[in-house]
Symmetry: C2
Subunit: 388 residues, 2 copies
């Protein structure tokens, strides 16, 4: 079984560029990833591409071959769609492909064009990640769904809006030096509490933005990396995926994410690590409450204790286990199909010391990436380790 090396990573800036197409964005990210890797495009054997709403936002399906072309790659390409966990799902199948010797070099990534739809249009399009028949037609959108999850959390474990506000403040703080982030601006707890309400207890600053952007990864087998003397010290050593009922009303518990827990347990076991070994994490904070649920599901915090993690400084940049040093979805932005791959890119860069925030994690060797779809009906978790 070959270890999967991260040979190169590339990100576009995440933000509001409605005039740019998905292919344009992915071309930029893939150029950066190839440049970073030193791997020639001709060596790529397969493309794993994540995209969520291109059929609605760009009237474009079948993006696999289109994105291979945008990346200058001649290789079979498939689109993976798992709502906001689309490129997490793409990474997972790519890991299996390399690990088992079915490919030595692959291009993985994702992109999303969203802002061209406008905020209302994008919110409507994002709703297709929920159950159309039983949730969307009843008026449910994602801020409302996560608001219910937050209310259930508060009711069962305690906590308050101010605890959640600290998640947003932390992630904006982390994004300050990240030039690719959509928001490089500090906010205060007061800003979050006073922001326009969206769906109680979720306010505008509890919510990630609508974003355009792309992420790309060049992954290789260990043998290829060594043979070509690549500078690729980080490996993806664990992969996990979990699933849950689609609609929130079918869940056993609104304030837990068993799909993410299942994915995390599988990924940890796969890598042979446990949560206490994790030095840093990028988690899917589409809303502030989502980060709380994620760190509990990943066993970085005990159930009911994640709510205080940001407020008490356990997940801040200088805390025990920094979470979302990139700025997270909240401040870095959330171009849906790009997010899962971008998390892997951020961790790989943090672990190798080329990240604006790597000063906080100088001795870090293990990072974990948590990507979630919908109200966590889907989740993927990947463990990255410095091994060379």
């Amino acid at each position: 079984m070959s270890t999967v090396r991260v040979a190169g990573t590339g990100l576009t800036p995440f933000g509001n560029v409605p005039e740019r197409t998905g292919r344009d964005l992915f071309a930029e990210a893939s150029i950066a990833a190839f440049d970073d890797s030193g791997v020639p495009r001709e060596d790529v054997e397969a493309v794993f591409y994540g995209n969520f709403m291109g059929e609605l936002a760009e009237h474009q399906g079948h993006q696999g071959p289109l994105m291979a072309e945008a990346a200058g790659v001649q290789a079979p390409a498939t689109r993976y769609e798992s709502a906001c966990a689309s490129s997490g799902a793409a990474v997972r199948d790519a890991v299996f492909r390399i690990r088992n010797g079915d490919a030595d070099v692959v291009l993985v990534g994702g992109a999303e064009r969203m802002t061209n739809l406008g905020t209302a249009g994008a919110t409507e399009a994002l709703a297709i990640a929920a159950d159309d028949l039983w949730e969307v037609r009843a008026g449910m959108t994602f801020p409302g769904a996560y608001a219910l999850m937050a209310q259930a959390y508060f009711a069962e474990y305690g906590g308050e809006r101010e605890d959640l506000a600290h998640v947003a403040v932390k992630n904006h703080e982390n994004a300050l030096p990240n030039e690719k982030a959509q928001y490089q601006s500090a906010i205060t707890v007061e800003d979050v509490l006073e922001a326009p309400p969206v769906s109680a207890p979720i306010g505008l600053y509890d919510s990630c933005p609508i974003s355009d952007g792309a992420a790309a990864l060049v992954l290789t087998s260990e043998a290829y990396a060594e043979e070509h003397d690549l500078d690729a010290p980080v490996a993806i050593t664990g992969t996990g995926q979990g699933g849950d009922r689609m609609a929130l009303h079918d869940r056993e518990h609104l304030a837990r994410s068993p799909a993410a827990r299942e994915a995390g347990e599988e990924a940890y076991a796969d890598a042979g690590v446990d949560a206490s070994d994790v030095d840093l994490a990028e988690v899917h904070d589409c809303f502030t409450i989502a980060e709380v649920l994620a760190i509990e599901a990943l066993d970085l915090e005990r159930i009911g204790e994640g709510i205080s993690a940001a407020r008490d400084g356990r997940t801040t940049a200088d805390g025990e286990t920094p979470v979302n040093l990139s700025g997270g979805l909240k401040a870095k932005g959330h171009p849906v199909g790009a997010t899962g791959a971008s998390q892997i890119a951020e961790i790989a860069t943090l672990l190798t010391g080329d990240h604006p925030n790597d000063g906080y994690v100088e001795d870090a060797t293990i990072g974990v990436a948590h990507n979630a779809g919908g109200t966590v009906a889907s989740a993927t978790v990947h463990v990255l380790e410095v091994i060379a």
Copy 2:
């Protein structure tokens, strides 16, 4: 490396049922597949689901977990989208997963709801499999694209509309005993030639219909099949995938399908067979010309000679290598996301002698399934063999 067994297959009738949802269709197909397999749902470790246009036709993305739920399965699920080769792509990753020991039991399949859009709406939706910026906005739809391919074929290799008509006549003939087929009706060459023109030389009867339907497969490892004494004598022994430039104007040759050739060569090599070993094939005849290009790409016919295969009887039910004994997309129907998985189901059933047309292929041991996306910018090929 484990051999991948086809433990059970299930198909809905393909046809015009606009009132049925995708989840309803997939539930039916998966129930049939589980019943056929004798495998309990609890043993399923992952779901690989193909769907193409659900975001447009049902305002529903994130169909992986939704379809796992519809199938009564609690397991991680991902949607694979590769236009009309969506479930072919799903089968491919499922094969890798089992073969390499990462799962013993998986549910694979696909569904598509299309007729609720109406013919014009479905044609518009199908167009997202082409390049939106450079083809669709210029007015290109798929009948037009395949008409160009047919014209290029005629110009280079000869042939005429009547040759193509024999493909349609053959496939309708094959569908006569297939109760799941959308059309159980014989047509004549004259019917095809006199049908309303769509885009010269493609007429209405050269084109597959708009269809609703679903297909499901329960695949297991050899070890699982033997341990549980399953009746699963057919294995998927070869998988291949190819890619090409998305837009027709970027191709080197309009009348060849290098993506399908690449997929076929990979699948044959993977299975350790060659084209001369193939006893029967299900190929992606979305238009009559597509079957001609497919059998050439699969090396079942030499380049330039596929055009005469149906007319001269080489691919008829009693010919050397029967092609589309199910009726093919042309007569069985083409619910896009279901098609690739349905081809695997048809071949497995033909090889085990439970198919209405298996009398034509009594001694057959090797079948091949060819699933194509767009104008064959994507293709998957799978080889099935009787091994037990």
